[in-house]
């Protein structure tokens, strides 16, 4: 059996590699969500056409790959095997790339990434600072694989781990290996994966299920989306291995409906896996049977919670359930069920291939391996980064992320989504792992890392998250349903300048109650954004309450827009951009904002040329002064 199988997979791989030998150069075009929005499909198509036109299609092929991660610079084109990295590639560039770079081996300087620190152009992808500090394991193959073609995955040793498991390892040995690797759940809470599998394996039942949680609900986190879209087979392979270890016969991938491309790619990948005998009856000729269904979510954040997710798959409202019994004992339709997050599953094949010892050599004593973060917000290099556990936030923000946009001052990093918290500058040197983040009042969550600068108001951010959890609370338990609502109301009042001295105390007490009495993880962690901002940015709350001022100049009710007469050049730009005609003035004459009409949309502020910068925002006492002046008839009218 073993013989038959190994020859078959090896043969498939050899055939794939042989068929590709002719095409020496591969133009890879990033097909991630970000690049999609930048128009990467048209770029890829234009490459195909140009290569054909220049009669190079025998030597050069084009591949639309998974996400390369550096979304800020899309559409990204990497020319393999050299690894020449071109960024922000547009249709007019393509003819030149094909003629110059591919045919004449000349580099086009204008398309290279320029390191802002050294001001030098970087030619190769691996030399770009954004990638240099990363340790790309789970994410590593994304840029080489066409997610719509299983052969790309097989050519890179895909499904080799599955073969090893099916023919060389017992289920217990697989579980022992995962336990020894110390892999922990990447969905947020960090429960040891091997242990979780063992509990489910030990539950007695004829029917068992596994679920891949791809309901990536945390706003600002999109690594699961990129994995499913970019390398779906790594997730599928991990799931089949897990199902074998646990003894499950059926699996579900629960994908958010907001990710249509992920649904398409994973559905196609499952079909191809079936064609290759990797799913279904007698997988690869073994005695193991297993198949996977895709379940498209319907837009409810709470369905990311595991008991809610199971209710949703059963066709019910996504209400969480009291635990115990745990899903591993009584899950989907009352049967033992194991749920892991996308990234957790994707780690499994690498651990099997390279061994638990190798894996547990990466990371900190309690958190092993790498973690993918989505580095977003006010950061220069927005994108997905995979780093070893234990790396400091400073390294992520400054070395990989290239620092804060527009040279503004760093204020906070928000991790863990609506369940997490905001960490201030004094924690930039904190080594990141499950424990350190929890101790700091936040959590790992699924890996969103939203960078905020001096122009972000922390009270507004807390209100934003509580508004989110309040809307997404399923309403089953009172502390979450009513408590989060109360938190939002207090926070909204504060941002409107109607805060009272005792509000801070109220927020703290209410938060404590919600944390300790809510039914599921959503409610138990909902107050974290309030508690961390109170812990690290209390002065901002006090400014809102006592001085009725928003120091970051965000909260609409607490600011005014004002045109500085000595700076205004009378260019009419702001006047034309004002949607409510609140600005009066003539060419070359100072413009004035009518404060009664102004809706504080910020259009004038945005459009005033950087050289002029005549529009200012004021809060607190300065705001009062502006308003007083504006209502003084001698000044304006």
């Amino acid at each position: 059996m073993e013989e038959v199988y190994i020859t078959r997979l090896e043969r498939t791989k050899a055939e794939i590699l042989a068929s590709r030998k002719q095409a020496m150069t591969v133009v890879t075009v990033c097909g991630g969500t970000g690049c999609h929005a930048y128009g990467c499909l048209k770029v890829a198509q234009a490459f195909e056409e140009e290569i054909k036109r220049q009669n190079l299609h025998r030597q050069v092929s084009v591949r639309t790959t998974g996400c390369h991660g550096f979304c800020e610079r899309g559409p990204i084109v990497v020319i393999q095997p050299d690894g020449i990295f071109y960024q922000r590639v547009q249709i007019p560039d393509i003819q030149e790339i094909v003629t110059e770079t591919i045919k004449n081996k000349k580099i086009l300087d204008r398309l290279l990434y320029v390191d802002p620190k050294t001001k030098k152009s970087v030619v190769l992808e691996k030399e770009v600072p954004f990638y240099k500090t990363q340790e790309r394991i789970v994410f590593g193959n994304n840029g080489f694989i066409d997610p719509k073609d299983i052969r790309d995955y097989i050519a890179l040793d895909g499904y080799k781990a599955l073969a090893k498991v099916l023919f060389e390892m017992t289920a217990e040995e697989v579980i022992d290996e995962i336990k020894a690797s110390n892999l922990r759940g990447r969905g947020g809470a960090g429960f040891p994966t091997g242990k979780k599998w063992e509990i489910c394996r030990d539950s007695k039942s004829d029917v068992k299920y596994i679920i891949c949680n791809a309901d990536e609900g945390d706003p600002g986190a999109y690594m699961d989306r990129s994995l499913l879209e970019g390398n779906p087979h790594s997730v599928i392979e991990g799931m089949i291995i897990g199902a074998y270890a646990i003894g499950a016969s059926e699996g579900y991938i629960y994908v958010r409906m907001e990710y249509p491309l992920a649904v398409n790619n994973i559905t196609l990948a499952l079909e191809q896996a079936r064609e290759y005998g990797l799913l279904g009856q007698s997988i690869l000729g073994s005695e193991f049977h297993f198949d996977i269904h895709v379940f498209r979510g319907a837009g409810a954040f709470v369905s990311g919670e595991e008991t809610s997710m199971m209710a949703s798959i059963e066709g019910k409202r996504a209400f969480p359930k009291q635990r115990p019994p745990f899903p591993a004992q009584k899950g989907l339709w009352g049967n033992p069920t194991n749920i892991n997050n996308v990234e957790t599953w994707a780690n499994v094949p690498y651990i099997i291939n390279r061994g638990a010892e190798w894996y547990s050599g990466i990371g900190t004593p309690t958190s092993k391996g790498t973690k993918i973060f989505s580095l977003v917000g006010k950061i220069n290099n927005t994108g997905l980064v995979e780093v070893p556990m234990g790396i400091t936030m400073r390294k992520i923000v400054y070395d990989i992320g290239g620092g804060i946009k527009n040279n503004k001052k760093f204020k906070a990093v928000q991790t863990g989504g609506p369940s997490g918290g905001c960490l201030p500058a004094q924690l930039l040197d904190l080594p990141i792992d499950y424990e350190s983040l929890t101790r700091a009042g936040s959590m790992m969550g699924s890996g969103g890392m939203i960078v905020m600068d001096e122009e972000n108001c922390m009270v507004d951010v807390a209100r934003y998250f509580l508004n989110f959890t309040q809307e997404e609370s399923c309403g089953k338990c009172v502390p979450c349903r009513v408590g989060t609502r109360q938190l939002v109301e207090i926070l909204t009042r504060i941002t409107q300048g109607k805060g009272e001295e005792e509000d801070i105390k109220k927020l703290q007490n209410l938060s404590k109650t919600i944390k300790s009495t809510s039914l599921c993880g959503l409610g138990q962690t909902a107050p974290n954004p309030v508690l961390t901002t109170l812990r690290y940015f209390r002065d901002e709350y006090e400014a809102h309450i006592k001085e009725k001022a928003c120091p970051a100049l965000v909260c609409k009710e607490l600011i005014v827009y004002h045109i500085e007469p000595e700076k205004c050049v009378g260019c009419l730009l702001c006047l034309k951009s004002c949607p409510v005609e609140a600005i009066s003035g003539e060419r070359k004459k100072v413009h004035v904002i009518d404060q009664d009409l102004c809706i504080k949309c910020g259009a004038c502020f945005d459009i005033c040329p950087p050289k002029v910068r005549a529009v200012s925002k004021y809060t607190g006492k300065k705001k009062e002064r502006v308003l007083k002046k504006a209502s003084d008839p001698r000044v304006n009218r």
């Binding site: 999609h36 930048y38 706003p219 927005t382 939203i450 910020g602």
Partner: protein, 152 residues
């Protein structure tokens, strides 16, 4: 009702198919027509109130038809810190409707979404499936005008 019967017949007649069926009906009719509920209840052997409960629980399903054009504003954290609330305000003002509503002429439905996972582009507006990144308030009207024109 014929279409709805066809959709129903493609699935197992059990509650586990309910959400899949609702997705299909929503896609077909652009909403869930209330009159299909009794038949579904009978076929799936569950109560009408159960179906009603499920369809109102999830954001994907609406009892009212959506407008001809769907404008979705991403309100994810990355978009929020880059000014998404201002963009939403401007769309609300220009369209004269609140998020979650459909304009009276049934031309536009304005919706908020918690995150579309394209954070590098924030703030993002998605109009009929097309992503518009790095939105500024001044661009809102231009985008809406462009749609009006394509209709003519």
């Amino acid at each position: 009702m014929e279409t709805m019967k066809k959709i129903l017949s493609r699935f197992d007649q059990a509650q586990k198919e309910l959400i899949h069926i609702l997705h299909e009906i929503q896609k077909e009719y652009n909403h869930i027509p209330p009159e299909v509920i009794p038949e579904m209840a009978e076929k799936l052997k569950i109560s009408e109130s159960e179906i009603f409960g499920v369809l109102t629980f999830y954001n994907a399903f609406t009892l009212e038809p959506r407008g001809k054009h769907l404008v979705t504003i991403c309100m994810g954290t990355a978009c929020h810190v880059r000014g998404a609330p201002m963009i939403l305000d401007e769309f609300q003002r220009r369209l004269g409707i609140e998020a979650g509503q459909t304009s009276e002429d049934k031309e536009f439905t304005l919706e908020r979404v918690n995150c579309v996972g394209a954070c590098a582009l924030g703030p993002i507006a998605i109009i009929d499936g097309e992503y518009h990144g790095q939105m500024k308030t001044q661009e809102v009207q231009k985008l809406l005008k462009a749609i009006d024109r394509t209709d003519e």
